[in-house]
């Protein structure tokens, strides 16, 4: 088990290096001249040349790559042109907001998706199953940005129940940042009203973000449950007199959970990617919004920084999923 974990961590580091190289290739193989892109459309040749030297873009690609990787190893993601601050610092400042959103959304997806999938498998082809089928297919097809706008229209503008956007109103003093997650920090600081306000703010974006994820967790879990429930060892368990409830809720669920876990890992990454949409709609001050606004103003380093960061979170999540796999499945432990 330990060597297994060690190997996973090693893979994680390797993949990180790979992603760093990938982002380098993307930025440099692209036909555009990065210096010109940075300088903007109205820049003179001189200005472009200056920027080129300043950013080390006049060196050979190999040299640039070495410098780039060296900087990364030191945690240097470059500097944002717009804010002139180190990208790493900004990414770390924005990351907790994104993570908070993703965690809440993922929680929703699992807590609703797994039981619903289980139920629709048990009552296959029943009314509940029909409803969840339509629900789950349309869930994946729903454009997050449009869905977000519709929810804003209904709950914030029309009904006035929930705030339109943002993470906290300007007037509310944020709690001391321990974890960076407002929901947790406000509870730790005992500011229950702040907790309530930030909870109201996170509901809509979390729902939008979790919807497709919930749908696919539901589908996978349902499919796996159906397959497991038809398997020989479930037939055997029934023949030996184990109660139906125990068979479904314990035996079958544990077996069906393995592929569901894989889907959860996959969807975690997908959610991180979708934050660029949801955060744009809801003005949520996370790394997604940061990446979008930087991209729109041709500020390239932050975009790369955010991509690396998202890749990092994704790999960590997948590593955790792999470990959970080994924890659940005894056949993997020895390998």
């Amino acid at each position: 088990m330990l060597t297994f974990a060690f190997r996973k961590v090693l893979t994680l580091v390797g993949t990180m290096i790979g992603i760093a190289a990938l982002t380098f290739v993307i930025t440099n193989v692209a036909p555009g001249d990065p210096a010109r892109l940075v300088a903007g459309p109205n820049a003179t040749e001189d200005m472009v040349a200056t920027i080129r030297t300043e950013y080390g873009l006049d060196k050979s690609l190999a040299e640039q790559f070495v410098v780039y990787m060296g900087d990364l190893a030191h945690g240097d993601l470059g500097t944002s042109i717009i804010t002139t601050r180190p990208v790493l610092e900004e990414v770390l400042r924005y990351a907790p907001a994104t993570l908070e959103l993703v965690f809440v959304a993922m929680g929703l997806g699992i807590v609703i998706g797994v039981p619903l999938g289980m139920l629709s498998a048990v009552y296959k082809d029943g009314p509940l199953d029909q409803v969840t089928r339509i629900f789950s297919i349309s869930g994946v097809a729903l454009p997050a940005f449009w869905f977000g706008i519709l929810l804003q229209l209904l709950f914030s503008v029309d009904l006035g129940w929930l705030p339109v956007s943002g993470r906290l109103p300007l007037v509310t003093r944020p709690p001391e940042a321990l974890t960076g997650l407002l929901l947790v920090d406000s509870l730790l600081a005992g500011q229950f009203s702040t907790f309530w306000v930030s909870f109201q703010h996170i509901i809509l974006p979390a729902i939008v973000l979790s919807f497709p994820c919930l749908a696919s967790i539901l589908r996978v879990n349902r499919a796996e449950m159906i397959e497991v429930l038809q398997s020989d060892y479930i037939v055997a368990a029934r023949a030996h007199g184990i109660s139906s409830f125990r068979i479904v809720a314990l035996y079958a669920l544990k077996n069906a959970l393995l592929p569901t876990l894989a889907m959860i890992g996959l969807r975690f990454g997908w959610m991180l990617g979708s934050t660029v949409l949801v955060e744009t709609v809801f003005d949520w001050p996370g790394i997604g919004l940061y990446a979008v606004s930087s991209a729109l103003s041709s500020d390239f380093k932050p975009v790369v920084g955010v991509t690396l960061m998202i890749g990092f979170f994704f790999i960590v999540a997948n590593t955790l999923v792999d470990l959970a796999y080994a924890w659940i499945d005894p056949r993997l432990r020895k390998a």
Binding site: A237, Y251, P330
Partner: protein, 545 residues
């Protein structure tokens, strides 16, 4: 009054093409202490029948008529709650393939003690503490002859051998001290020697625990070893029932007669198809195929070496049927593939008709393949489901010859004639054919190029017994007509005795014994060979007679 009574039981299963009558009026009764065997080939409905006794039949099944009563209680349409008092407690079941019937994610101990807990709950008194259940579990494991139950308790199914898993399943079935034990093909997935052990175990349990046993199997030998009474099922009906001994010695129904005559008898000297070509064309040497010092070492992912075949030499005479017999893991399939260089040997040479094929280039080897062909174990997966039968048979012609489209079509039809299949079949797809028909197609494909050598890897083990007999007979005819040499690989000793001239016995990648087949069966020199024959005899029909 009998313990279990099945009366006029009719059952349909709904499918896309309408209902299929799976059981057509079954009448069967079993008394306490009885051992009943149900014999039938695939599709006879025997599994559906015994599963109905436990209420775990297929989902879309409908009882049309009749019913089942157990100990005076009608159990045809019980609720799940009422079943809980019967399943595993009064009637329990063991299954065919012990790997798939154990949950891979739970330990052996956990699975058995859960069953114990379920029984205690159903009986109405509270669930006993964990430690007590553990003791009981270890007792059960001990009872079925498993060594070291304490260690076994925390192990997982994948860590056990097939025979051990079957014993675990039996222990689980005995947890509730059942009145009736249903055994659904309990030995089919096991090796011959393990089969014999499991049958012995069932027999000893019947005696010790006064069990009533219903065992279903396609293997008449296994039934004869365990069951005193026996019923023969065919297409959803019981065509004959009575004392096993009577049925075996004096079958009444046509189907039973056919079935019994199809079972190869390990103790019968074969009647050979005499037509051995008197003066075959002079081959370059007396031996068509020779293997010298063949060795195959696999490296597993963890870096350990596993020797599948070790320094094995053999020579196959032109025109003979050369048998290779061994249990699973003996390396016989690896050997077969190396003989045709479908797998490259780690070291050693294969000489075909005086030419060493180990050193041949890819291109020369491909050309060589027209002289030596392979027939695979499982005809269901040896044919590409996306190709028509005609495509499959014509493929070697398209690859190896310059025949035109029309010639190939004609040849395909000729080949279908040879393997006795309708010509229309060339437009059909494999899934529309039965197992025996598919194997014939595979054979047609193998002989399309008029090869001189056929290597047959368990060509009948995926087929029903009556089909197996037909295919074996056909293979013998074919050899005589086409001047073929066979290397015939099998785990079934009776089949080997029936058709092979000379035989090698393999174990752990090495030859244990070799010689004339009759000689080996009549006067085995090695202990292992003797055990094999003994176990084979136990599962062969002559057992109790």
């Amino acid at each position: 009054m009998s313990l279990l009574d099945i009366k006029d039981y009719r059952l349909d299963i709904d499918t896309f093409d309408g209902p299929v009558h799976v059981l057509k009026g079954i009448n069967l009764s079993i008394n306490r202490g009885d051992t009943l065997g149900i014999v039938g080939e695939s599709g006879s409905g025997k599994t559906v029948l015994v599963r109905s006794v436990l209420g775990i039949g297929p989902r879309n099944a409908r009882v049309i008529e009749g019913g089942i009563s157990f100990d005076g209680q009608n159990i045809t349409n019980l609720s799940e709650k009422e079943w809980a008092k019967i399943r595993g407690i009064r009637i329990s079941m063991i299954f065919q393939d012990p790997m798939t019937y154990l949950n891979p994610l739970f330990s052996i101990g956990r699975q058995i003690s859960d069953v114990i807990a379920a029984h205690e709950k159903a009986a109405g008194h509270g669930v006993s503490p964990k430690a007590a259940r553990r003791t009981r579990t270890e007792e059960l494991l001990d009872q079925v002859g498993l060594p070291n139950p304490a260690m076994l308790f925390s192990q997982y199914p994948h860590q056990l051998s097939g025979g051990m898993r079957q014993r675990v399943l039996i222990a689980m079935a005995l947890a509730g001290k059942p009145d009736i034990l249903i055994a659904d093909e309990p030995t089919t997935a096991l090796d011959v020697t393990v089969q014999a052990q499991v049958l012995d175990l069932i027999n000893s349990l019947v005696e010790k625990l006064n069990l009533t046993v219903i065992m279903i199997s396609h293997d008449i030998g296994a039934i004869a070893t365990v069951a005193r009474r026996c019923a023969v099922m065919y297409k959803g009906e019981i065509v004959e029932q009575g004392l096993t001994r009577d049925i075996l010695s004096n079958p009444q129904h046509d189907y039973t007669k056919r079935l019994l005559s199809a079972v190869p008898d390990i103790d019968a000297a074969p009647e050979r198809v005499a037509a051995r070509p008197a003066a075959s064309e002079p081959a370059k040497s007396r031996f068509l195929l020779e293997a010298v010092d063949l060795k195959k070492v696999y490296r597993s992912q963890s870096g350990e070496d596993f020797t599948a075949v070790n320094s094995l030499s053999l020579s196959v005479r032109t025109g003979e049927i050369f048998g290779v017999v061994g249990e699973s893991g003996s390396g016989k399939s690896t050997l077969a593939r190396m003989l045709l260089r479908l797998i490259d040997p780690t070291s050693g040479d294969v000489i075909f008709d005086g030419q060493n094929i180990s050193g041949l280039s890819e291109k020369a080897l491909r050309a060589m393949r027209r002289h030596m062909q392979f027939v695979f174990q499982n005809p269901h997966s040896a044919l590409n489901g996306r190709h028509t039968i005609g495509d499959a048979i014509g493929e070697p012609l398209r690859l190896q010859t310059k025949m035109g489209r029309r010639e190939i079509e004609a040849r395909i039809e000729a080949l279908l004639d040879i393997v006795q299949l309708p010509r229309l079949f060339k437009y059909r797809y494999p899934h529309e054919l039965s197992g025996g028909q598919k194997q014939r197609v595979c054979i047609a494909r193998a002989i399309a190029l008029n090869p001189r050598l056929l290597v047959l890897d368990e060509p009948t083990s995926a087929l029903d017994i009556s089909v197996q007999a037909q295919v074996l007979e056909f293979l013998q005819q074919l050899r005589a007509e086409m001047n073929l040499t066979y290397v015939f690989i099998s785990h079934n000793l009776a089949v080997i005795r029936q058709i092979c001239d000379r035989t090698i016995v393999m174990k752990h990648g090495e030859i244990v014994e070799q010689g004339e087949t009759e000689q080996i069966f009549l006067h085995p020199r090695e202990n292992y060979t003797r055990t094999l024959i003994e176990s084979g005899r136990k599962t062969s029909q002559a057992a109790d007679l």
